[in-house]
């Protein structure tokens, strides 16, 4: 029996790995998700068998079956209801639940263990799992609320300072405890740590700016994974260790990718500092050319290759469906369309791809920044929809610019650029965009959705 259970956990672990591996191609990703999910079901069922060798009280079983049923149904319902623009919120919320589970495990274990016989190393692991879980729990909830727009960034020095103190306490208190300076029993100590860690989670996410959300979400995801791995160590369960570490690795990798895409260090993102822009150094006398809707429609329909650069503006206006409509109309006129997507477009890594996929855009049309930058010259026209900083040539040409060094989509190298934006207000980085003053660039003022709709209507008339 024991061997069967161990083999079962091995299969579950491999299924997690296979599931992630299959994510490397859009064709197999669906199968991958199914494989990982089946592995998870297997791991859960095995756990019941593994633990039920002695007589387990019926009450416990009933509570668990109820909790699992309600959890499954609620998870299904929430994921059926979510809009694709709301995806980052939901992922954060689910991440919070994982963190919460890890924290509760720490508390329960603290209620039950006898510190005299529990190994010191295991106590450290329990503390680590509890604190990381608690940080992921409240941090993800704040992230979710910020994405939903009900909690605003709080960059006060008090917030940042208290966060640092709490972090120091989280490292210091366990050390003092094990040295015997804190005369509390393990259980009371764990409850105190849980509270400190939860408050820290809140203060940690509060100062981080809205556009840095892709970084925070992947980081919190990673923290939950690490909490899972700590718990796995406590129970000596390899499926938990491996699953946790895969998630931790994925989260860290995406975090670093997002940081690189914004040319910002992780520390700067976490410190919440970005707004110290040097606007004084940029000349304000920019000659811009406006373009009208009929002109824009004509330009797009009488060329061969068009690229669309979708940005935050498109996501906010939920204009992805009209964008897909525009694509269909242009393709009927033998214009080929590519989408060029900056890694941080949207509010979590890869979010823009999901929005376009929702609008039935074929993924073969979605190009990554690096490959399209090399052949930018082949595009007769580029339509920039609500993206600002990611197409600003200053990132490459002006060492004084706050965004200098950030990888950008080199739309200025295309034959013609049409930028759709609502006003001449500055983007998130607060810098003027040199692109707008260039000869091959014209501006089409308006909200991404209404403007696209107008262009689509024009094209139907042509």
């Amino acid at each position: 029996m024991h061997a069967i259970i161990e083999i079962g956990y091995l299969i579950a672990t491999l299924s997690f790995l296979g599931g992630l591996k299959f994510m490397s191609s859009p064709k197999r990703a669906k199968t991958g998700n199914l494989i990982a999910a089946l592995g998870m079901v297997l791991a859960v069922i095995l756990t019941f068998f593994a633990g039920t060798t002695e007589t387990v009280p019926y009450t416990n079983l009933i509570i668990m079956v109820l909790a699992i049923t309600v959890g499954t149904l609620l998870g299904k319902r929430l994921s059926d209801k979510v809009q694709m623009t709301g995806m980052p919120q939901l992922v954060s919320l689910f991440n919070a639940t994982g963190g919460g589970c890890a924290m509760l495990l720490g508390l329960m274990e603290a209620n039950q263990i006898k510190t005299e016989i529990t190994h010191f190393g295991n106590q450290v692991l329990l503390i680590a799992g509890l604190t990381t879980g608690a940080i992921a729990l409240t941090g993800s909830i704040i992230a979710e609320r910020k994405l939903a727009g009900t909690v605003k960034d709080k960059r006060g020095r008090a917030v940042i300072f208290s966060a640092r103190i709490l972090l120091a306490l989280l490292l210091l208190l366990p050390t003092l405890y094990f040295l015997g300076f804190i005369p509390l029993d393990f259980m009371a100590f764990m409850y105190i740590l849980a509270i400190i860690a939860m408050v820290y989670g809140v203060l940690f996410v509060l100062p981080i700016g809205g556009a840095d959300m892709p970084v925070v979400i992947s980081l919190l995801n990673s923290i939950t994974g690490i909490a899972t791995a700590f718990a796995g160590f406590v129970y000596g369960n390899k499926a938990m260790i491996a699953g946790g570490i895969f998630v931790g690795a994925a989260g860290i990798l995406l975090t670093l990718l997002m940081c690189r895409a914004m040319n910002r260090s992780l520390l700067k993102v976490l410190a919440g500092t970005f707004k110290n822009n040097k606007t004084g150094q940029i000349e304000e006398d920019q000659q811009i050319k406006e373009i009208s809707i009929p002109e824009a429609a004509l330009t797009l329909s009488f060329v061969q290759k068009v690229a669309i650069v979708p940005g935050y503006g498109l996501a906010v206006a939920q204009a992805q469906h009209i964008c897909a409509q525009l694509q269909q109309l242009l393709e009927k006129r033998n214009v080929s369309i590519d989408y060029i997507i900056h890694p941080v477009a949207g509010r979590m890594p890869g979010h823009m791809n999901v929005l376009l996929a929702e609008a039935n855009v074929d993924y073969a049309c979605l190009k990554e920044m690096e490959e399209s930058n090399e052949n930018m010259k082949q595009y007769d026209a580029v339509l920039v929809l609500g993206a600002n900083d990611v197409v600003n040539p200053a990132a490459e040409s002006n060492p004084n610019s706050p965004i200098y060094g950030m990888p950008i989509i080199r739309t200025h190298k295309a034959k013609q650029v049409i930028v759709v934006k609502r006003s001449m207000n500055k983007g998130y980085a607060g810098v003027q965009n040199e692109l707008f003053g260039m000869d091959n660039c014209s501006i089409l003022f308006g909200d991404a959705k209404t403007t696209l709709q107008d262009i689509v209507n024009q094209l139907k008339l042509l």
Binding site: A12, L17, G19, L20, M23, P26, A29, K30, G32, N33, A36, A37, M40, V44, T47, F48, G51, N60, M64, A67, I68, G71, L74, G75, S79, D80, M84, M87, L90, V91, F94, T97, G98, A102, L104, L105, M108, N111, Q112, S218, G232, N237, M240, I241, G243, G244, I245, F246, V247, G248, A250, G251, L257, P343, G346, P349, G350, N353, D362, A364
Partner: protein, 98 residues
């Protein structure tokens, strides 16, 4: 030190997982980063296994731990089911042109 030598096997295991995990995940293209993240999120719900193991040990009259454990099982399940369902829903949308 004793702890480390005792758990050397696990430590090897962890290191291998780190390397394999990074290798596998680094190959995922940017277009699939959101499903990757929500799928990974669902996998971190394997913490549910720990919650069940604990719940199987809790005495019937230990109401505090039964409550905490019940909530933990609920949260873990929500993480798993929500994560996999939402990933599946996203991936269904990624279809090539007919």
């Amino acid at each position: 030190m004793d702890f480390i030598t005792h758990h050397l096997q696990e430590i090897y295991f962890v290191l291998f997982c780190v390397f394999i995990g990074i290798e596998v995940i680094a190959n995922v293209p940017a277009i699939l980063h959101t499903p990757l993240m929500s799928g990974a999120n669902a996998i971190s719900g394997v913490i549910l296994v720990g919650a069940i193991l604990l719940m199987l040990r809790v005495p019937q009259d230990d109401y505090l731990n039964l409550t905490l454990g019940g909530i933990a099982v609920f949260l873990g399940t929500l993480n798993i089911s929500g994560g996999f369902f939402v990933t599946g829903r996203m991936l269904k949308m990624f279809k090539p042109k007919k």
